[in-house]
């Protein structure tokens, strides 16, 4: 892969409900922040990729809501429907294909404007499965049980993820749910769907995020500090939940392996120094860490107990507070990328860790069907 870097990032604060803003208002804020961060004007942006979801936005052609505010009126533009990491991947390909030197990528959603149970129920197959009335939470709970059964991971270990991430969020001014919790608080919170308590689940939030990707030939032109894209890959597993071994994430392992190979990484658990993982639910942080290869299968829970993934641990995971700290669907993966960029540029303020190379991860679909993995480096 040719060299490309992220040279600007911007995001709104993650909130439970941004009453006074439309999608366009949020995009305007995030895009302008990214432009300022990169030292660019909108004219320096060669093309735009927005990321959104028609169901979450309650409008078909959801990209129409943010195109103008993202500066796309007189530019080439496209829209990815899926997590922001996928939108960023497409944006990357457009910066590498020779047609454009810089791509602005945005991702947004306002969870406050819809009913998440119904929205995620709509991802079930309408002929065979949707009638059951399941949604993202019940499906994920089923996966959590399978994972815990196979690996022996305990509810207490799951709770520790919540304690860690909400605790990390305290230092992140853009997060939605900074909280000082104990394991007992998590286990004592309302049971939503066995084994997931309320505090095992991320919220569904409002936010918009934007990044600017530049290919090598354009990076030096702008003042934004570049964070280099060393590897990026995505992969999807089968769709029907019964077709998969829910306790494993083959597609994630495949995507991660490809991203590591592109980046020349042979020992990920040693060479990755910070990770922002898609923790829509507590068990997911542990499961994805194992399936990515950042620790061996079945060991994430005990490593977490030993403090290895704490902000001052061997491999800080979700120093930003992750999705548990604030979860605007669709934008969430792009925010993982932004958080790694902040870490590698040493701009993470009170939740800064010491890292030169990091991993960002996003998910699309039920129970982590489709994954996108990014490897970023402060050096080219």
């Amino acid at each position: 892969m040719e060299r490309a870097a992220i040279i600007g990032t911007g995001m709104t604060k993650i909130e439970s409900a941004r009453h006074t803003e439309t999608f366009a208002d949020m995009a305007w804020e995030a895009v302008n922040k990214a432009l300022d961060d990169a030292g660019m004007t909108i004219d320096d942006v060669d093309n735009v990729v927005t990321t959104s979801n028609d169901f979450w936005d309650g409008r078909t052609i959801s990209c129409m809501a943010v195109g103008d505010a993202s500066g796309a009126s007189h530019k080439n533009v496209s829209c990815v429907e899926g997590d922001g990491t996928f939108g960023a991947f497409y944006g990357l390909s457009r910066a590498l294909s020779g047609s454009y030197g810089t791509t602005l990528v945005t991702a947004h959603s306002k969870g406050s404007e819809s009913i998440s149970s119904l929205i995620t129920n709509a991802s079930f197959d309408p002929i065979y499965d949707r009638w059951l009335g399941m949604d993202m939470v019940s499906a994920s709970a089923m996966q959590a049980n399978a994972y815990m059964e196979r690996t022996g991971t305990t509810s207490e270990q799951l709770a520790m993820v919540s304690v860690k991430n909400h605790g990390n969020a305290v230092k992140n001014p853009l997060s939605q749910l900074p909280m000082s919790l104990s394991v007992e608080d998590v286990l004592g919170s309302e049971m939503i769907s066995d084994p997931l308590h309320k505090l095992d689940c991320s919220p569904v939030s409002d936010a918009c995020c934007a990044i600017i990707i530049a290919n090598e030939s354009r990076v030096a032109r702008y003042s934004g500090c570049p964070v280099w894209i060393k590897g990026a890959a995505f992969c999807s597993d089968a769709f029907f939940l019964g077709d998969r071994d829910l306790s494993r994430a083959k597609a994630l392992t495949e995507a991660a392996a490809k991203a590591f190979s592109m980046a020349g990484i042979t020992n990920p658990s040693k060479e990755i120094q910070v990770a922002e993982i898609y923790d829509a639910f507590t068990y997911q942080e542990l499961m994805w860490l194992e399936e990515i290869g950042l620790c061996e299968s079945g060991t994430a829970g005990s490593k977490l107990e030993k403090g290895e993934f704490d902000i001052d641990g061997r491999l800080p995971v979700n120093p930003s507070g992750g999705l548990l700290g604030g979860h605007p669907v669709i934008a969430a993966g792009l925010i993982r990328i932004v958080e790694i960029v902040k870490q590698l540029r040493k701009e993470a303020g009170e939740y800064q860790v010491d890292a030169k190379r990091g991993l960002a991860h996003g998910v699309n679909g039920l129970c982590g069907q489709s994954h996108c993995v990014w490897v970023l480096d402060s050096e080219g």
Partner: protein, 387 residues
């Protein structure tokens, strides 16, 4: 212009119908995919990545990229969804072009599909517009198009008879296309006597609702010449999705087409499109667009569109045939439609267009339309582009 050459090496479509009760959405997608693989003499394992799209609210399925994998061949592959309303199909083609052109993938399967019979098309399209400002006064796609036609007619004196001549052309062309849904000719009188939907648009001026899927395989230069004897090289792409609010639109002129076509022709070195382009597959959702948008494309001067159509220049056998496939008036599975235009243009360049083949095609243009008067445009060519 990209720096890596990209070509279309195979295409496939279903035989489009008003409804396909014999298959569910996945199975419909699979038909088109199998047809494209057969056309390119490839296996699903040869595909490095899949790009798919449709308009969510026509089928009511969320995360279609995930849901489709059994039919689209995406199991244990990278699969990504693009969706931009009516322009989805052409946006997908542009997506394949960049994914291959980036060097990240060598062989990409591009799929557009729609099962419009499964929902209320107008009800779904209306949700595209801003819920506070536009949605309550908007009555689906046809009302917007009628406003455009009225504006053009007021400026240039065209009439609904001019629109009808375009319908006659496309419905006649469709008779040569075994994949088209509507394969019966219509006369000017029949068009003008058909019920008025929104003045000046008659029923026979507009597209039907269709269940259909289309798949296109794109490959890098390294692979393209091994797979296809005459690959269809993508010379360039451009698009404009400007306007989010109906009140902002410059009615009567398709600004997005003028800007996008202008950009594409310029960067591809096309100086006189009317002379250098041999065939156009235009996403023309209603007849009048066939008059107006060729002016915006730069084929003829402003106000001369109707005259050009009446001259027969855009009929089969004319100097610049438009919609040899019968176009959108004969067939409209919305998420696929833009990709079908691309596939039909590719077939023209590759010499695989059967009874609808235009002779000696060197350059073809395919376009997409949708959203709030948006345009996508692609330039296809038999020769390799300069890079």
């Amino acid at each position: 212009m990209g720096k890596n050459r990209v070509a279309i090496v195979g295409t496939g479509q279903t035989f489009h119908k008003s409804h396909r009760p014999d298959v569910n959405g996945q199975e419909l997608i699979n038909e088109a995919v199998q047809a494209a693989l057969k056309d390119a003499d490839m296996k699903i394992n040869d595909i490095d990545a899949v790009v798919i799209g449709n308009m969510d609210h026509f089928e009511g399925i969320n995360y279609v990229d995930c849901w489709s994998v059994d039919g689209s061949g995406g199991v244990m592959k990278p699969i990504i969804k693009l969706t931009t309303g009516g322009t989805t199909g052409s946006t997908l083609a542009i997506g394949g072009y960049h994914l291959v052109g980036s060097g990240l993938f060598d062989r990409v399967l591009v799929i557009g599909w729609e099962k419009n019979s499964e929902s209320d098309t107008t009800g779904a399209i209306t949700t595209a517009f801003d819920p506070v400002w536009d949605r309550l006064v908007f009555a689906g796609a046809i009302s917007g198009l009628a406003v455009e036609a009225q504006s053009y007619m007021a400026k240039y004196g065209a009439t609904d008879k001019d629109g009808a001549r375009v319908s006659v052309r496309d419905r006649k062309h469709a008779c040569n296309n075994p994949h088209a849904q509507l394969r019966k000719e219509v006369s000017i009188e029949e068009v003008l006597e058909s019920p008025v939907l929104a003045d000046p648009i008659h029923l026979l001026d507009v597209c039907p609702r269709t269940d259909g899927a289309c798949a296109v395989i794109m490959a890098s230069e390294k692979y393209a010449e091994k797979i296809a004897r005459t690959p269809d090289w993508i010379w360039g792409t451009a698009n404009r999705h400007k306007y989010s609010y109906l009140g902002d639109v410059n009615w009567g002129e398709l600004d997005s087409m003028a800007e996008a076509a202008g950009e594409m022709f310029e960067k591809c070195g096309i100086k006189e499109p009317r002379k250098e382009i041999n065939v156009i597959e235009m996403y023309q959702p209603y007849s009048f667009a066939g008059i107006i948008w060729i002016e915006d494309m730069g084929i003829v001067e402003r106000g001369k569109g109707a005259e050009y159509i009446w001259s027969g220049a855009t009929d089969m056998g004319g100097e610049l045939p438009i919609n040899p496939s019968g176009g959108v008036i004969a067939c409209n599975p919305i998420g696929a439609t833009g990709l079908i235009r691309c596939a039909e243009a590719a077939m023209q360049v590759m010499g695989r267009a059967g009874d609808r083949q235009v002779p000696d095609v060197n350059h073809a243009v395919s376009t997409g339309f949708g959203g709030c008067m948006w345009t996508d445009i692609l330039l296809h060519g038999k020769q390799k582009p300069q890079i």
